[in-house]
């Protein structure tokens, strides 16, 4: 069935919403990657089976929704009962029968599956009351966990494609651009370029063909917001792209997805086909005469392809090496035609900007960084997962109120934002508001939204070494300063971690960093030395401890530490099989011995010891 007009779309929205609301209870099972890996699929299957067997009167199988990522990956698999919002965590297959019988059959709540607030040990029933969710505001992630992830029906029921309908019928292209400019939205991929200005530039250039490309090459370590959106709410990305195409006058779009995200490709493909079938993509969209096609293009494991000019070469099937951008890709992009390239999260915000108005969006956040931003909270933090907060929220609020603080109550050491191009910020910067300009001033950057939290057992020199090794691997090799300079930076970092570093190393690193920044073409090179520059800025004493005292204060760099078994050892034997090199010997009930010459300092004994008897020196 084709949707021939905007009126028909509105009628469908009403009808579909009525259908969704007709279910007295809906079971939303999180099918995000974290929950899937912990058995969400089996839980879904079990639900269908049990419901069939029990023959519940008021419950239909259609009310089971496979949703996108709820964000609270730490507590998965998650099952939410809507519309009440009852939030069950760490659900197992064996719990399903009880949920069906008690919660669906008799509206009882199963206490044992509820979230326990660590602050006061009280159970919380509704997810909206859980601190992790209560401090969030979701725009780009608005539908994640709320709708069946690949269902066009559910997307329309949730008000989907209404932004597009409004743009196509009530606004001319210029007005759409003005609305986006009014919203103040800046590119969510990390650069923070004003989206409205980008669109306006593209629309103004004389050309027979223009392209709209969505950047789904999310490669920043620790970031998975775009993945969650592409998998959990693919239609919102498509809707944003179609609106953009209308605004700039494009008829062909591409979504570039990294090869590491196979499920995102499957869901986007289905969404494109479903939208084509009803005439939301293709010729004569919603009967307005406007036509736009979308195809998927896949990467193959090259981080640099997230860079605009490299990405466009990769879409065209070539080697993804960046070019000098004296002429920006918005002027000469894909196949040398004017091209708008926006990030997944940016496109996901566009439908809301159109349907709610740019002004409403601009009131959220700070004057220069409007709206909200999604982050993935990872590393040594209690509540790992996916969040979205208004711009201007402080790092402290994010890490402590939403993230629940550092894992196991340990002291905070640093938070890395902005991926490999960003930097590590120390405790003294925790009260900074998170927005594009503040983070850059502090020596880090917003980046695409990975937020990697580190505790006192993390060595920042080791982290810098790690990020440099990543960049050495991912440098495309076109510019010598980036290819060779990053390699040398990494070599110095390795030397320091191994206790072979000298003061000269720091000087050379500083000098090299300056050269790499000046001499590289694309963002990968110009921000490549940041892992070093930001850590030396805030943690110089730690570098010096490695070089002068030959000590790793965090106890991480294996060449600089030894494990020692103290007399707290009860002789429980647990560490002996854990040791891969047979370095530990001892009898039950007696203090064990560790042979330093055999020890490879893997830390396995330290991890299994229940009596804190093993110390790192």
């Amino acid at each position: 069935m084709r949707i021939e007009s905007v009126e028909q779309l509105r009628k469908l929205e009403k009808k579909y919403r009525g259908e969704t609301e007709s279910h007295p209870v809906r079971v939303h099972i999180c099918y995000g990657p974290g929950c899937l890996a912990n058995g969400a699929q089996e839980i879904g299957d079990r639900f269908r089976k049990v419901i069939k067997e029990k023959k519940l009167k008021n419950f239909k199988v259609e009310a089971i929704k496979e949703t996108g990522c709820h964000g609270f990956c730490e507590r998965g698999p998650l099952v939410v009962l809507e519309p009440e919002g009852t939030f069950y965590t760490k659900v197992k297959v064996k719990d399903v029968e009880a949920i069906v019988e008690k919660s669906l059959g008799k509206s009882e709540i199963i206490e044992s599956l509820l979230y326990t607030n660590p602050a006061d040990d009280k159970k919380i029933q509704r997810y909206k009351d859980i601190p992790f969710y209560a401090h969030q505001k979701r725009i780009a992630l608005r539908n994640l966990g709320q709708i069946d992830q690949t269902s066009l029906h559910d997307y329309i029921a949730a008000g989907g494609y209404q932004g597009l309908a409004k743009a196509l019928t009530a606004m001319n292209p210029n007005k759409v651009i003005k609305e986006v400019e009014l919203s103040g939205i800046r590119g969510r991929g990390g650069g923070g370029f004003a989206t409205g200005r980008k669109w306006a530039t593209c629309a103004k250039i004389e050309s027979d063909v223009r392209y709209v490309v969505c950047n789904g090459d999310e490669g920043d370590p620790g970031a998975f917001m775009d993945r969650a959106i592409m998998e959990g709410d693919p239609h919102t990305v498509l809707e944003g792209m179609i609106i953009c195409a209308y605004a700039v006058g494009s008829t062909q779009g591409y979504v570039y997805v990294r090869d590491e995200y196979p499920l995102a490709v499957v869901h986007l493909q289905k969404a494109i086909e479903d939208a084509e079938a009803v005439g939301l993509i293709g010729e004569n969209i919603l009967g307005t005469g406007f036509s736009f096609h979308i195809a998927i293009s896949r990467g193959a494991g090259a981080f640099v392809c997230g860079e605009s000019s490299a990405l466009m070469r990769s879409v065209a099937g070539e080697v993804g090496e960046p070019r000098a951008k004296y002429i920006r890709s918005v002027v000469k992009g894909l196949k040398d035609k004017p091209t708008v390239l926006n990030n997944v999260e940016t496109f996901a915000c566009i439908p809301v900007i159109l349907s709610e108005g740019g002004k409403a969006f601009s009131k959220i956040g700070t004057p220069k960084s409007t709206g909200t931003k999604a982050f993935s909270l990872v590393g040594k933090i209690e509540n790992t997962g996916l969040i979205e907060v208004p711009m201007g929220t402080t790092l402290r609020e994010i890490i402590y109120n939403i993230g629940g603080g550092i894992k196991d109550g340990k002291p905070f050491k640093a938070v890395q934002t902005g991926g490999p191009s960003g930097g590590c910020l120390p405790e003294s910067k925790l009260d900074l508001p998170v927005d594009f300009d503040t983070l850059t001033e502090a020596g880090s950057m917003m980046g695409s939204g990975g937020m990697i939290v580190m505790d006192d057992a993390t060595c920042v020199v080791d982290v810098a070494r790690y990020f440099l090794s990543f960049l050495v691997e991912e440098s495309c090799g076109k510019c010598v300063p980036c290819r060779e300079g990053l390699y040398q930076l990494h070599q110095s970092a390795v030397r320091i971690c191994e206790g072979k570093g000298t003061d000269d190393d720091l000087e050379i690193m500083q000098h090299l960093s300056d050269m790499i920044v000046i001499g590289s073409l694309c963002g990968l090179g110009t921000s490549g030395p940041n892992p070093f520059l930001s850590t030396i800025r805030y943690f110089r004493d730690e570098y010096e401890a490695h070089i002068k005292e030959k000590k790793c204060p965090a106890g991480v760099c294996t060449a600089l530490i030894t494990y020692i078994i103290t007399d707290r050892c009860t002789g429980c034997l647990a560490c002996i099989p854990a040791c891969a090199t047979d370095a530990i010997t001892g009898k039950k009930g007696q203090v064990h011995q560790l042979a330093q010459d055999k020890c490879d300092r893997c830390g396995a004994c330290y991890a299994v010891c229940k009596y804190d008897a093993i110390e790192i020196h």
Binding site: A37, G320, A604
Partner: protein
Amino acid sequence: MILTEESVRNIEKKAARYPNKLSAILPAITIAYRQVGHLNAGVYREISRIIDVPYVEVAEAATFYTLFPKKPVGKYLIQVCHNISCALLGADSLVAYLEGKLGIKKGETTADGLFTIITVECLGSCATAPMMQINQDYYENLTREKVDKVLEELKAKT
């Protein structure tokens, strides 16, 4: 010929969609890789003949993108994420454990042709680190016990 008739047909079909022949290189490589399981000079040569582009263009693209293995890999390609979130939570010791358990080093394949270990960059499952991907499946929140179980299950399957 390394490529089957079906692969050749699929490549030709893809190539026909592009006005610029060079654009067909990546899709062609993907098809060839899916069939053969890895890439080598013979494969590049055949692709260059089928879509009529210079050999060097195919080889350049194939060697640029890391996700195409250039030598045969085991039935189960174990891709351990060693990126920062996983590294903070013990990815390096996990790799060492796998190496010890399977008796091979990173980049090598077991003698029975079952397992290959490689390390990869961020797979975007950072909230449940450390993690690995074996062929198309993710395994997360890994511990040594969990790794033991996964390997046993895979061995039992074969």
